[in-house]
């Protein structure tokens, strides 16, 4: 409760800065100064008011496409969470597997999504499948790596204690290592949430008939710049909402992560 109020109070300066920037943008765009400076026709440089207008007037179209993208993001993200955690646990339990396949996990992140996206569309068609796969591919890495790191942070002394108490490998994992890794996994998931929408856009650009990314392509071609920006606003809103949900979960179930990291435990000695 206090933490929530504090975070709202702490958000004021950021909000003021954002408002000031939007205000400046509005002034620069509506006076034509921004378009002049960029050497562009004024209709190509929308003001925040025009974007707001588009958000309202095209709300049906935007919401429809945002819904499509949201479903893609949620499915891809969920797949990444399941795969990422399963991979982390497998690599953690088997040093051999870790040695053999950790490079592959890293390689998964080096695949240029923008290149692989059209290939996936060729393979799997214009449906939701390729989008979900691309989002999962992008989100997989931060979740898997963070969870794996988290599982490995249990000190040797704690492992020894569990052994002394008679715990086998599985109980060490479920009673100590898994809960220890939860805050780490959530950190990874938060990073993944922020990049998930980028994956969705790439996926839709490679071939789609609906979704925010698809709408952006159309807007771009038709020079509907205000609506293009409006689509970006929706896209950001999806990412922020997903991020906020994860932060909420973090505060509810992984509250110990912060006090311990902040040295509340270390402070005693």
């Amino acid at each position: 409760m206090t933490a929530g109020r504090r975070s709202i109070a702490g958000a004021w300066p950021a909000l003021l800065v954002a408002l000031a920037l939007v205000g400046l943008w509005q002034l620069a765009a509506s006076s034509g100064a921004l378009a002049d400076a960029l050497g562009l026709e004024p209709f190509l440089v929308p003001s925040p008011a025009e974007i707001g207008e588009s958000l309202w007037e095209d709300r049906g179209l935007l919401a429809e496409n945002a819904w499509v993208t949201l479903i893609e993001v949620l499915l891809g993200f969920a797949a990444a969470v399941a795969l990422g955690i399963a991979t982390a646990v497998a690599l953690h339990l088997s040093p051999l597997l870790r040695r053999v396949s950790y490079p592959l996990v890293i390689a998964s992140q080096t695949i240029p999504v923008i290149v692989i996206a059209p290939v996936l569309v060729v393979w799997f068609g214009f449906g939701i499948g390729p989008k979900v796969a691309i989002i999962a591919l992008i989100c997989f890495f931060p979740i898997a790596v963070n969870t794996l790191d988290g599982l490995g942070t249990v000190p040797a002394e704690q492992r020894l204690l569990m052994r002394s108490l008679g715990a086998g490998r599985l109980r060490l994992l479920t009673l100590v290592e898994a809960p220890t890794a939860v805050p780490f996994a959530l950190s990874g998931a938060k990073i993944a949430a922020a990049v998930a929408v980028i994956g969705a856009v790439f996926g839709e650009w490679a071939g789609a008939t609906e979704g925010l990314g698809h709408l952006m392509l159309i807007d771009n071609a038709q020079l509907e710049v205000a609506r293009l920006f409006a689509a970006i606003v929706w896209l950001s809103a999806i990412a922020i909402a997903l991020f906020a949900c994860l932060s909420l979960i973090e505060r509810r179930i992984a509250w110990w992560g912060e006090p311990v990291k902040a040295g509340e435990r270390g402070g005693e000695r």
């Binding site: 002394s164 108490l165 008679g166 715990a167 109980r171 009673l175 006090p259 311990v260 005693e268």
Partner: protein
């Protein structure tokens, strides 16, 4: 145990340790820092591979059997920050496959017994250092093994709390009748808590002296016990022996 030796790489840590602990007895191991006391404790508990010599608990020498028959309590309490005091103590039962509710019930009862009845639901960061150490000790007791291996359990506490917990440990061990090996660098703690005290030398460590602790006057408090003339004399002897070692 007989002829126990241990080295870390080229460093010889333990040079032939022979010790015997009777059932129900508390043996305190005292020695300078880094002399290998902790290593010896981990060897007894089967938590570290034995390099030379034999260690038996109740006639069994296999490391796994020694792990099953003993419970190790390190200096750091190692309480899980997300689990309540009861759940932390209950870890000893759950580690061996006990159900959560059942383990928690046993743990809560034991916490009451160690004077933490009102704190079963408290989280580690809400407890003082002494209370946390008592939760860690409850976890050790709850494992139910005949042998307890205590590695400087009070070293991280302030002097007053340490004294209180020593008195508490003596009472608890008297009721529990477990066989206990207590490692400490504090001669007074060793003499007060132990039935016998083994003095160890610097690395490579040997046992230089075994002291039978003079029994404390019946019903004496800790302050009375440690100022008893026999205790004071034993402490002086022990300190002298450690200096010579």
């Amino acid at each position: 145990m007989a002829g126990v030796e241990h080295r870390y790489g080229p460093t010889e840590v333990l040079a032939g340790i022979d010790l015997e602990v009777a059932g129900g007895e508390t043996l305190a191991l005292v020695g300078p820092s880094g002399c290998g006391k902790s290593t010896l404790l981990e060897l007894i508990g089967g938590l570290r591979p034995l390099q030379a010599g034999t260690i038996a608990i109740g006639g069994t020498t296999a490391a796994a059997a020694r792990t099953a028959a003993s419970t190790w309590m390190p200096q750091r309490d190692l309480l899980l920050p997300w689990a309540s005091a009861a759940d932390n103590a209950a870890l000893a039962l759950r580690a061996r496959g006990g159900g959560r509710a059942e383990a928690r019930r046993h743990a809560s009862r034991l916490l009451e017994h160690v004077g933490l009845g009102g704190f079963a639901a408290a989280l580690p960061h809400e407890l003082s250092g002494g209370m946390r150490q008592r939760v860690a000790f409850a976890r050790t007791l709850l494992a139910g093994t005949p042998v307890l291996l205590l590695d400087e359990p009070f070293a991280a506490l302030d002097a007053i709390t340490r004294g209180e917990l020593q008195a508490w440990l003596v009472r608890t061990l008297a009721e529990e009748r477990r066989t206990t090996v207590l490692v400490t660098h504090d001669v007074e703690e060793a003499l007060y808590v132990g039935d016998r005290v083994a003095l160890m030398t610097r690395r490579p460590a040997r046992v230089t002296a075994l002291i039978d602790v003079p029994p404390a006057p019946a019903g004496a408090s800790r302050a009375e016990a440690i100022s008893d003339p026999a205790f004071v004399a034993a402490r002086a002897d022990a300190l002298r022996a450690l200096e010579e070692a």
